[in-house]
Amino acid sequence: MKLYDLLKDRIFIFISCITAFLIIFLFMNAFNADPQLKIITGVILFLLLIVNETHEFLRKKFFYDDIKIKMENLDRKYLISEMITPPRFFDGDLMCELLSEAGRSMCENIAEYRRNSAEFREFIEMWVHEIKLPVSSLLLMAHNNRSEISEKFLEQLYRIDGYTDTVLYYARSENAEKDYIIKEIQLSKAASGIALKNRETLLLNNVAIRTSGLEVTVLTDGKWLEFILGQLIANSIKFFSPEREPEIFISAEEFSDKTVLKYRDNGIGIPESDIPYIFEKSFTGENGRKGTRSTGMGLYIVKNLCEKMGHKISVNSQKGEFTEFEIIFDKNDFYKFN
């Protein structure tokens, strides 16, 4: 709070005081008052004004500067009302009261939405698990009664399973609750798990998978990592180039403070103008519009899951040549003591 602000704020008081001074002096002149009396009256009135206004200024300055600093340092700004010391002047006290009431009402509102979203997630989780039962049952039936048609059924069943998983992980990634477990996972195990799951599709599309250096462990949630890799594989399959033999290359490199997982395919790549947006919700881009149908959700969920677990994900691509995703897992020695 600066002096200028105060002057601007209280301009009316100053004007009325000056007018009052003038009127008093006019009267004093009219009654031929002693010049000494004029000076004394003037000085007293002036001092009165200055002392009053200085007091007002300092009081407000301390109060509002304090709020400002607290607000700047506060991580959840809506909790400011809890941090204010009541200022003991009328408008300040009133504002504090209103602020704390507004804050309380908002917290209640947030709590309600949080509860709703948690309930919704539980609901999705529960029903996705229910959907998985008939799918398992059908998979077994198709397997027990092998024929040409059962192979086709299997393919569709794996599609259903993939889509329900997307729903499940979307619900998980949007939720504020921490429902993953970070532990040491061998990258080769995650890679073989997800490759095995997609084996039929990969072979059908003649995709060669090469790996290198995956015998390292990283700190992550194994199930989430498999889902992430699964989404990347699904994207690769959609966007392979007809000019080359399709190939996916998964490799890992270990550094002193991190492990970097690289996932690269030799597909049609991503146009440079699309790259900054590919992790955004519902973004389909050039590839998604002209080629296979895209929902624009896969990579958004992938990014969300990575962020939740504290991994960094980035993309590098050249149109017509390749797409490469990089996931960085930090090392944390703290976990290893447990």
């Binding site: 698990h129 229910e130 998985k132 039962l133 008939p134 799918v135 398992s136 049952s137 998979l139 077994l140 039936m141 397997h143 027990n144 069943l157 399973d161 998983d165 499940l168 429902d179 993953y180 477990i181 532990k183 080769s188 890679a191 073989s192 490759a195 095995l196 799951k197 084996r199 990969l202 072979l203 003649n206 060669a208 998978i209 090469r210 790996t211 995956l214 949630d221 194994g222 199930k223 989430w224």
Partner: protein, 220 residues
Amino acid sequence: MSKIYIIEDDRSIRTELSELLRNAGYETEAPSELENILDGMIAANADLILLDINLPIVNGEVLLKEFRKSSDTPVIMVTSRTSEADEVLSMSYGADDYITKPYNPTILLLRISAVLKRSSRSTANQYYKDLKINAAKGALTSDDRELILTKNEMIIFQLLFDRQGEIVTRDELMTALWDNNEFINDNALTVNVSRLRAKLCEAGYNDAVETRKKQGYILK
């Protein structure tokens, strides 16, 4: 013949799973009544138990914990819960493996046979005719010679050997290879089997691996 005890509350899965396992040469028991299931588990005297987590009366994890107090029969958890937390919990209660639904039936069979093998592994060495199987070294050895196999050939040989005299499908071989991070395609599998056959032939075991058209391979 190994006996597998299936605890599963979904009727359709239960019957299909029993059929799958019977076709694969196991004896199965799958009770439809899940009350006092703990007594049933112990009384069944099975070689392996497939246990669902979401059961109507009691939670599978709790059941496993109770069961482990009196028996060390191998247990594989089969569940539609896909969180790492459930897996960690199950493993800490003493599960031998954890598979999520919907599973690829071939993978399930592979895991079952792996767990059974682990639990019944005798210290005695495994022999194919007069060749000693040295999986760690990737070689088949006899007194006077040594057959060096590649990783792929060893995986194929081991699977054929475990089910000697039975047909092993190409699908099963592929699943086993991919499970071991060997992501090969159909042609490469054919090549690998031919190489294995040639190596065995060279060592004097003619026609050890027989091809059954459209079915798979048999180790004689």
